[in-house]
Amino acid sequence: MNLIVTNAGSYPRIGDTPELQILRQTLARFDRQEATEADIRRAEDEMVRRAIAEQIEAGLDLVTDGQIRWYDPISHIAGRLKGTKINGLLRYFDTNFYFRQPILVDRLARERPILVEEYRYACSVSARPVKPVLTGPYTLAVFSLVECAEYRDLERRVEAYAVALAEEIADLAAAGAELIQVDEPAIVLDDADWDLFAAGVRALARAKGTARLALYISFGDVSPFYERLQALPVDVLGLDFTYSPQLVERIAIEGSAKALGLGLIDGRNTKLEPEAEVAAALERMLPAIRSEVVYVNPSTGLELLPRDRAFRKLQHLVRIATRFKR
């Protein structure tokens, strides 16, 4: 079995030294009309380069661009589609992070690629493969307000976002992405919507071409629908173990036909988990996973940690995973 150590999404865009604060400063200067959009772009490029360099230095096999350019996981995608406008702030799950809520005001349409340029840039500055990450149609739909009769039903909203994101998946695959991660955390809030959620996932899967699709779910317990997740047409299931005390045993017993992304390391707390505990969980599960590759990653993106702690988390993860490689 091939074990791949990766990041689950975001990476801090700031640090304690002045050279790690250029993006914050440039955005503040932009607000005072002392910097241009090109200046912001250059600062973002610089912080993407640093995020990738740190992931590689920590020893990851597969990196992300750290979602450095994302205002938040919702508006970065929804706000770039035609037919939306952006509203006020709302708490993101049970974190202390806030996102801008989109409002659907007109027919949704993707006029141009959303993430392809960002993905290309990340590849150009990375010595390791890059995994693009996007937020899925169900999560975007659940967090959108509606001012347009057409989208009053959640089902119509999920469909409309799925059409737009399927185009994005096809373009990312054409740009060379071998593994594309789709985050759908909102399904942990109410799995009564399972059929709508699953329809959105299937629409994306139809567009993936030769790329592999990873569905990542965090911020809640996935145990109630673990079996149903296995039936979805995706290649990898990313699971947040921090909310699911029974999940390790369950996977050890029921196994997994799909590749898993094991989020055993808490991406939201600075504490480094005891190595022996994490290793014991891997020992229990790895023999039961019937795929050629298994991914290990933090339970969530790392932006909810200070930069030095995020880096230490990744080093810790690599240290543990290395014992299981080959």
């Binding site: 801090p12 707390n269 504490k271 200070p306």
Partner: protein, 333 residues
């Protein structure tokens, strides 16, 4: 019933007492001084002199406006959790973490047993109270919110962290009472985030307040109260201070279905908006509040701390509140 408690504590407040949630904006002079201090260009003593001057300004301003129950305005605080973390044992102040957009804060890390070693807010409370004959509230952040807003590397779980904090924060409450504070506000803005943990928040607040002779207020904001109402009424406080106006008073509908059984500090102006509400709008909101909570149990204040407004906006919003309350009082008399 709470009126009786207030009287027993020696507090004779008018009908519809006016108050504030806690923070006021820092004057430019203090804002700049904080930046200079952070860069090592200003002494701690000089910064504190300016913090005292700003506190005095806000006490005078509240008195002149005719507010009934005053706050010190929190001119000496950066963040409501970090301030307590910096002044108790067991915390390390971590690196920057983003809260939204281009805004960052330093999230504390609990690295060893949390310990209250000496009074934290008492000297500020004493100073503020020495400037006025009106009651000044003691102001603390509650154990559930401190737990939720810190990283934890020491305690086995959230529950152990929260209860340990509760035992230590109680000591600050005791110190405030010993100094003479009779109204103490314990802010729990994180309360509604994980509804399943409400019993834990309740247990922790019980530890903080149990048997202590003070009138307790708890402020909570950031919405989602439909998830914890009416269960939140079991919390051991006398008064809930709630953000009402930025959600079109939606909460009142819940109070119509299940009666609100505590005193209510009713937020009647939106703190996130530059727009100064008309007196008529605020009068109408107070009247709506009176439909579900008896006048004896109703307090009037802004939705939340006013620190994000300018000094002028904050004063204008408070002035509208006082004016609206005096009209409603006249009509009730």
């Amino acid at each position: 019933m709470s009126r009786e408690k207030l009287r027993r504590l020696g507090l004779d407040l008018p009908l519809l007492p006016t108050t504030s949630v806690g923070s006021f904006p820092k004057p430019d002079e203090l804002q700049q001084a904080r930046t200079r201090w952070a860069r090592g260009l200003l002494s701690r003593d000089e910064l504190e002199r300016l913090e005292r001057r700003a506190t005095e300004f806000w006490i005078r301003t509240q008195e002149e406006l005719g507010i009934d129950v005053l706050v010190d305005g929190e001119q000496y605080r950066g963040d409501m959790v970090t301030y307590f973390a910096e002044n108790m044992r067991g915390f390390e102040i971590g690196g920057l973490v983003r809260s939204y957009g281009n805004r960052y804060y330093r999230k504390p890390i609990i690295v060893s047993e949390v310990r209250w070693e000496r009074p934290i807010t008492v000297s500020w409370w004493r100073f503020a109270q020495s400037l006025t004959t009106r009651p000044v509230k003691g102001m603390l952040t509650g154990p559930y919110t401190v737990m939720d807003w810190c990283f934890n590397e020491y305690y086995p779980d959230r529950r152990a962290t929260c209860l340990a904090l509760a035992r230590e924060i109680r000591k600050e409450v005791e110190a405030l009472i010993e100094a003479g504070a009779r109204i103490i506000q314990i802010d729990e803005p994180a309360l509604s985030v994980r509804p399943q943990e409400l019993p834990l928040a309740r247990e922790a607040l019980q530890i903080v307040t149990d048997g202590l002779p003070a009138y307790f207020i708890s402020h909570a904001c950031y919405g989602a109260f439909e998830k914890i109402y009416p269960h939140m009424l079991a919390l051991p406080v006398d008064n809930f201070d709630l953000e009402m106006s930025n959600s079109n008073l939606d909460l009142l509908e819940h109070f119509k279905r299940v009666p609100f059984t505590k005193d209510l500090s009713f937020g009647v102006v939106d703190v996130h908006s530059h727009v100064i509400e008309d007196v008529e709008t605020v009068v109408a909101r107070i009247r709506q509040g009176l439909e579900v909570v008896p006048a004896e149990a109703l307090w009037i204040d802004p939705d939340c701390g006013l620190k994000t407004r300018t000094v002028e906006e904050a004063i204008a919003k408070l002035r509208v509140i006082v004016e609206a309350v005096s009209r409603v009082r006249a009509a009730l008399a």
